[in-house]
């Protein structure tokens, strides 16, 4: 008969084997229909565009060059591709502003929710969850109806005589910004609320007891303690905002392109799949850099405050 030690070791081995078997379907599906294809995108970004879309299996760095550069049709010289740079810059700028705006609005909202009584807290959570679960396209469409020239804002302002002609908000960067802040706000509120709910308010009392002002309590006690929620919220907003596809189409009217629309263009009318692939990889790199920077920066400041 095997010793208890051997039996234990065998049981552990079997346990780990079972755990791999159990996770295999999820890992396979994700690899097959999410992660794996990203590698193909990387390969495609180094190939030559085919005449009717797709690619020719021929190595070419051209796609990567054209991410930021333009080749002159006549003399083959390279110059900065102003259109691409503008779109990159607009996307990053709008994503950052969206993140900051949702944080500025979402933090006080989460704080408000977390400081309600136990009973009503669930109600507020419910109210923030409904928009979160509501289709993003529908919510963007709702914003469209509010801000267009015949929409609620302009109608009210006109009726009140504050303006004499409708303000053109739709099809501007402002419209995209309003739309993104609107649709991503719940994504910011929920994680902040989750860490705020766990906050022990006796610590706040201790802060006031030790002569802190309201602002100091907020900055030195509350904020550092809910920081994980703030980081999670910022990541959850920044990533989809950078790759936003629906909002620029619906509210930007297809003229104020963001990165995702530029990428789509390469797979549609542009018929330049390698360039589309290179742009996609570039977006991913930006996201990764932002993630790393944010996480590292957060880690450092935690040490300083800790």
């Amino acid at each position: 008969m095997a010793s208890a030690e051997e039996v234990a070791r065998e049981a552990e081995r079997r346990d780990i084997r079972t755990r791999w078997l159990l996770s295999a379907p999820a890992l396979l599906v994700i690899f097959f229909a999410a992660t794996g294809p990203l590698l193909i995108v990387l390969v495609y970004s180094f190939l030559t565009p085919g005449p009717y879309g797709d690619v020719k299996w021929q190595f070419s760095p051209e796609a990567w060059i054209s991410v930021f550069m333009e080749r002159d049709i006549f003399d083959d010289t390279l110059s900065l591709a102003a259109a691409h740079v503008t779109i990159f810059w607009r996307s990053i700028k709008l994503a950052i502003i969206t993140t900051i705006a949702t944080l500025a609005l979402g933090f006080p909202t989460a704080y408000f929710m977390a400081t309600r009584s136990e009973k009503t807290r669930d109600l507020w959570l419910f109210l923030i969850t409904i928009p979160f679960w509501t289709n993003l396209l529908i919510r963007t469409f709702a914003v469209l109806q509010i801000i267009r020239n015949e929409g609620l804002i302009n109608t009210v302002l006109l009726k009140l005589g504050i303006i004499s002609a409708p303000i053109q908000i739709l099809f501007t960067d402002t419209a995209i910004l309003i739309g993104m802040a609107y649709v991503y706000l719940p994504l910011m509120v929920l994680p902040i609320y989750a860490s705020m709910e766990k906050l022990d308010f006796r610590l706040v009392e201790a802060g006031y007891d030790l002569y802190a002002t309201r602002f100091q309590v907020l900055r030195r006690i509350i904020f550092p303690l809910v920081k994980p929620g703030v980081i999670a919220g910022s990541i959850l907003v920044f990533i989809p905002a950078l790759g936003a596809y629906v909002t620029p189409i619906v509210l930007g009217g297809g003229k104020n392109m963001m990165l995702s629309n530029l990428i789509e263009l390469q797979f549609g009318q542009g018929r330049n799949w390698p360039l589309g692939s290179a742009l996609s990889i570039a977006v991913m790199v930006i996201v990764m850099v932002a993630l790393l920077a944010y996480v590292r920066n957060a880690g450092r400041s935690e040490v300083r405050h800790g």
Binding site: D15, I16, R19, W20, S23, P25, A26, L27, V29, I30, F31, F32, A33, A34, T35, P37, L38, I40, V41, Y44, L105, P108, T109, Y111, D122, F126, L127, I128, T129, I130, P131, W133, T134, N135, L137, I138, R139, F141, L144, Q145, I146, Y182, L185, V204, Y208, R214, I239, P240, L242, Y245, V246, I249, S260, E264, F267, G276, S280, I281, V287, L291
Partner: protein, 266 residues
């Protein structure tokens, strides 16, 4: 009488919160209101009417897209929930083992990549497979939806498992239950609320998707969101408001269910 010092008060926070809630709901209220507008243009109020609901109901494209959405959503959500449950069982309540961190990263990977990138990647990959196999059915959309639904279904299931008292399973084993009996009689019943929450979350996420569907779908495979996006691009009629209103109602029902399930203790 002196007012006591309000520990939890922060100046302006309540006002901002109130504004947020109003701003979150105002556009939705307007959207719903216009669904009942009798006028053809959405810029004026022509009286109460249900005609846009009727017209949406009689629009075969809408019905078609809705059914397709539900079909994809149901299959993808069920598959994602089953796989996520298995994965959650495999990644919780254990001493760290080799590969555990890899599994976390792999399962959450779809959340870390912008949808547009995944969409493009799947367009390329699936178009190759389509040429290779000749198959161009809903399988691709279902596979894609299952993949990005897994991390969402995984969240509540994992949370539920991690909060579960391990001694309950130990007690069952002590009372002569084999590992399978323990799972069937103790683990699974206690896990149900998490699984249901995961299922609903996955279903909603699938119904919500525009970007990945837009890139993966073959001709004639519009889901309701991609159909609506196409309509909005072409100019809006209150019919879109009517469809949105019904969709919205569905969301509210699902959130309410989700809320009660995930709040339920024991």
């Amino acid at each position: 009488m002196a007012r006591s010092f309000a520990i939890k008060h922060q100046p302006g926070f309540t006002a901002i919160a109130a504004t947020c809630f109003v701003v979150l709901y105002l556009p939705i209220v307007v959207l719903v209101a216009y669904a009942f507008n009798a006028a053809t243009s959405t810029s004026e109020w022509g009286g109460f009417s249900l005609k846009w609901f009727q017209s949406a109901w009689q629009n075969s494209q809408v019905i078609d897209a809705t059914l397709r959405s539900f079909q994809i959503g149901a299959v993808a959500a069920i598959l994602a929930t089953i796989f996520a449950t298995m994965a959650a069982l495999a990644t919780t309540r254990t001493a760290p083992y080799r590969g555990l961190t890899f599994k976390y990263a792999a399962i959450n990977q779809p959340l870390m990549v912008p949808e547009i990138v995944t969409g493009v990647a799947l367009l390329i990959f699936f178009s190759r497979i389509k040429i290779f196999t000749g198959y161009s059915g809903l399988g691709y959309l279902i596979a894609a939806h299952t993949a990005f639904c897994i991390p969402f279904a995984y969240l509540p299931i994992r949370a539920r498992l991690e909060n579960m008292d391990l001694t309950l399973e130990r007690a069952a084993a002590d009372l002569y239950a084999t590992p399978w009996q323990t799972f069937r009689r103790i683990t699974l019943p206690l896990l149900w609320p998490g699984i249901l929450a995961g299922l609903m979350l996955a279903f909603v996420i699938s119904l919500d998707d525009v970007v990945i569907t837009e890139f993966v779908k073959s001709g004639g495979q519009d889901t309701l969101p991609t159909y609506m996006l196409g309509q909005i691009r072409r100019g809006i009629t209150p019919e879109i408001n009517a469809i949105s209103t019904v969709f919205l109602l569905l969301s509210v029902v699902i959130v309410t269910l989700f809320f009660f399930i995930s709040r339920k203790r024991d």
